[in-house]
Amino acid sequence: MWGSFALLLAVAGLQALAAGDAIPLTFENWRPTLYAYVLWGTCLCAGQVLVRGEQGKRVLFVLPATLFVVSMVVFPLLFGLIIAFSNWNLSSPDGRQFNGWDNVVQMWNDPFYWNALTNMVWYTLAIVVEYAIAFGLALLLNSEIRARKFFRVAFLLPLMLSPVAVSWMIGKSMLEIRFGPISRFLRELGVENVSFFGNPELARLTIMIMDAWTFIPFMMIMILAGLQAVPREVQEAAKVDGASGWRGFWEVTFPLMLPVSITAILIRIIFKLKLADIIINVTAGGPGGATDSVTSFIFREYRDRSNVGYGTMLAMVYLVLIVIAMTALLKLTDRWMRPRY
């Protein structure tokens, strides 16, 4: 176990020194270190059983997964942090160079990033409306209506579509100003020159609607599952007690659905914070950054401008903001759901 660990340290150290031109050795890639890591992991797992017996076998349920997470999440995250504090433009012959807090300073003065963050606030707020629609649809599909099964499947279809497909089918085709069926229909109604993406506010709203169309079914299906788990007797008891339809919903169904609702909203927020595909394909962030999301901006900075160091710093800061926001949100909802008197 210790031997394999020493081997891992030796190989990794050797490769690191070679990469830094400190020793006259060249490696084609980092596979030797990877192989040493796998060997160490195997020895470590085997060693647990040999040294600790039954207790070691129990550790085996967790240890491989831990090693996997360390190699696939923790290590890339740490490596990403190193890149985030680097000046690394892929076109630069100098390669990657440590540049301290320069990327943070640049981010602080970057109006594109702040604009994208502001847009994200609007996009995230739209979830409230999405939730209301999803709840309404779920109630509808939970009631005794005709062709209920058909509608359940039909309403779920948008979720099965890739956002890229939605971008092209709707954003680039159906909303196309000249040939798109929606534009033609509006022209028939006498609305001339409808531009869905020409005006900043309308463009942002159209993106919100396209994204909502794709993901409302996700919230709807979660709420529907929750509604189906609510015993009918509860509603019937409310009716017997004289509750109107609205009071039955507001004072019985809605509170009972809160845990499911909060889970659905939190997951939806996570999806929303990653919003990029539709924007990249339809507006490229325009007009003038009105529809830019943080992810689409990072994508442009990284992809079009090969600015790896700065792009990674933006992504890291965004990650920190998301972690803080989600933690705060979870705490708040927890306190709300389980008040401590």
Partner: protein, 556 residues
């Protein structure tokens, strides 16, 4: 005559009457020239036969070519491969080819063109297809991370600094240079383009220049002409020759009706949305005649300091022109969301707008693409000029007319990477495939039909060949003339082959988008924002290196 040959000829569109007519003509020729001439035809005659035959596949007006057409063209142009490679010589060789899939062209055609090559040589090709916008990033990442995973690449000359400059390319063997007849290239595609440190790396398959396309039905329209005169204009209603006229025509057409579609008429189509950096070329079209002074080869940067010129009065004028047209409502309603692909293929070729600047393949697509409705009403010219030009050296405007075509991107080429080194058979296979795609005859077909490529060889400008394919003489003289005049113009604005050039263009697109959306106070403010961003990129990549390479690309 063998029955199978007769059937083959008839299958390819020859009627019995025309076949018999041709046979008797051939017999007559044989009688006049002697049997030897017919039994052993001269190579030039045979080549000419192939060229005529491929130009009839599928034929102008016969719809867009299909995969079967591309395969047939590839098969007919296999002569060079047969001369240099034995059948089955590359059996077992596997090559990886990275290229584009724009408009379902580029790699889609290459697959068809190379099918018969694969069958004949025994090699197999694996394909990496990339969208235009993803191409630059993929290439840059491969270069920077040392993960070049392709043997052959379709690449533009602007990336030669990034690739050849870092030793990632394989030098072209002499036999390839002879086979593809590089002397036939138009002058501006000859060295130093395709070379680095005196070594040649590129098989050109394209020549790039932006040409001006306009709708002839707009300018033949008597109502427009009368209204133009009534509005007090003392110039004739005719295709514009300067950007000042382009802008005036665009304003004049507001509120008019398109003579072809019956929808709203529009003037010049500026793409106002970015396109992975490629959108900046379209502002360059407007800026070139203002900014490219005939006495100064530089126009984007100061060659001694790399200080951007993008915020000088010439570029600011170009930006201001666009802003004024936006303000006037001269563009289609959704123009702010139109990238160059939209302006060419969804707007101009589909009948929206009177004027457009684009690469030359709009000319071949206008008549041969299924999606084009303007084939009979389109005319061509070089990039419009200007009534004045800015002299960056003196820092003042000069009131002299100026013309400067924008030879944007310098065309696509096929390059072989250094992955083939150490394996002679693989190297020969890679270069053979490249030579096949850049062959003289095959390139003629590619320049005549939708392919993503435009004419780039002197031999592509033989009007008779195009006429034989079904083009009318006037159209083809117009279209080819605009290309030829742009390539050979003494004041052409040529792309600098410096590392990271698309980073400059990409960040400019972002700032322009903000300017066009009214988020900056003025054109000057927009241009200043671009210049500041360009300075940061130059510092990041390395100013001294950029200065040296920029000067080299300008021949200074």
């Amino acid at each position: 005559m063998k029955l199978n040959l007769y059937n083959h000829a008839v299958r390819n569109g020859l009627t019995r009457r025309r076949f018999l007519h041709g046979s008797s003509a051939l017999a007559g020729a044989a009688a006049l020239s002697g049997a030897g001439g017919i039994l052993k035809p001269a190579r030039a005659f045979a080549q000419s036969d192939v060229r005529a035959e491929i130009l009839r596949i599928p034929g102008v007006g016969a719809g867009s070519p299909t995969d079967a057409d591309w395969q047939r063209v590839g098969e007919l142009c296999l002569g060079g491969t047969r001369e240099t490679v034995a059948e089955g010589e590359f059996e077992g060789v596997e090559l990886t080819f990275m290229g584009l899939n724009n408009q379902n062209l580029h790699n889609f055609l290459f697959r068809g063109f190379l099918r018969s090559w694969e069958e004949y040589t025994g090699a197999t090709i694996n394909w990496i297809d990339l969208a235009q916008a993803d191409y630059n990033a993929r290439l840059q990442q491969s270069i920077a991370t040392g993960t070049v995973d392709f043997d052959i690449i379709e690449m533009g000359a602007p990336f030669e600094g990034d690739t050849a400059g870092r030793g990632l390319l394989n030098e072209m063997p002499e036999w390839v240079a002879e086979l593809i007849d590089m002397d036939d290239y138009v002058d501006y595609l000859k060295a130093p383009v395709g070379t680095w440190d005196g070594k040649t790396y590129r098989v050109s398959i394209d020549g790039d220049t932006h040409t001006f396309a306009y709708r002839t039905d707009y300018y033949d329209n008597e109502e427009f002409a009368a209204a133009w005169a009534e509005a007090g204009n003392d110039t004739p209603w005719a295709p514009p020759k300067t950007w000042e006229e382009v802008n005036a025509h665009s304003r004049f057409l507001i509120g008019k009706t398109d003579p072809l579609t019956g929808l709203d008429a529009h003037g010049y189509l500026d793409p106002l949305k970015g396109w992975g950096g490629f959108g900046f070329y379209f502002l360059e079209n407007r800026a070139a005649p203002y900014a490219k002074h005939p006495d100064d080869p530089a126009w984007l940067f100061d060659p001694d300091t790399m200080a951007p010129r993008v915020n000088n009065p010439a570029f600011v004028q170009a930006i201001q022109d666009v802003m004024d047209l936006i303000e006037a409502g001269a563009y289609p309603a959704d123009q702010i969301n139109a990238d160059p692909g939209t302006t060419a293929f969804q707007q101009f070729l589909a009948g929206t707008g009177a004027m457009l600047n684009w690469w030359g393949d709009v000319g071949s697509s206008a008549r041969t693409s299924d999606t084009s409705v303007v084939g009979d009403v389109v005319g061509f010219d070089i990039n419009p000029g200007s009534e004045r030009v800015y002299n960056s050296m003196s820092g003042a405007w000069e009131d002299t007319p100026n013309v400067a075509p924008n030879n944007a991107y310098i065309g696509w080429g096929i390059y072989v990477t250094n992955r083939v080194e150490g394996d002679d058979l693989k190297r020969k296979a890679a270069w053979s495939a490249a030579a096949h795609l850049g062959g003289k005859d095959l390139s003629l077909w590619a320049s005549a039909y939708p392919s993503g490529f435009q004419p780039y060889r002197n031999s592509h400008f033989q009007f008779e060949e195009w006429e034989e394919a079904g083009y009318d003489r006037a159209y083809i003289e117009d279209y080819l003339g605009s290309n030829s005049d742009s390539y050979n113009h003494p004041n052409a604005a040529i792309e600098p082959r410096i590392p990271g050039i698309f980073q400059y263009y990409s960040v400019a697109e972002d700032e322009l988008a903000k300017g066009f959306a009214g988020e900056y106070g003025s054109a000057q403010e927009t241009a200043d924002a671009i210049a500041a961003a360009w300075e940061r990129i130059t510092d990041q990549i390395g100013r001294d290196g950029q200065i040296a390479l920029y000067k080299a690309s300008l021949g200074l």
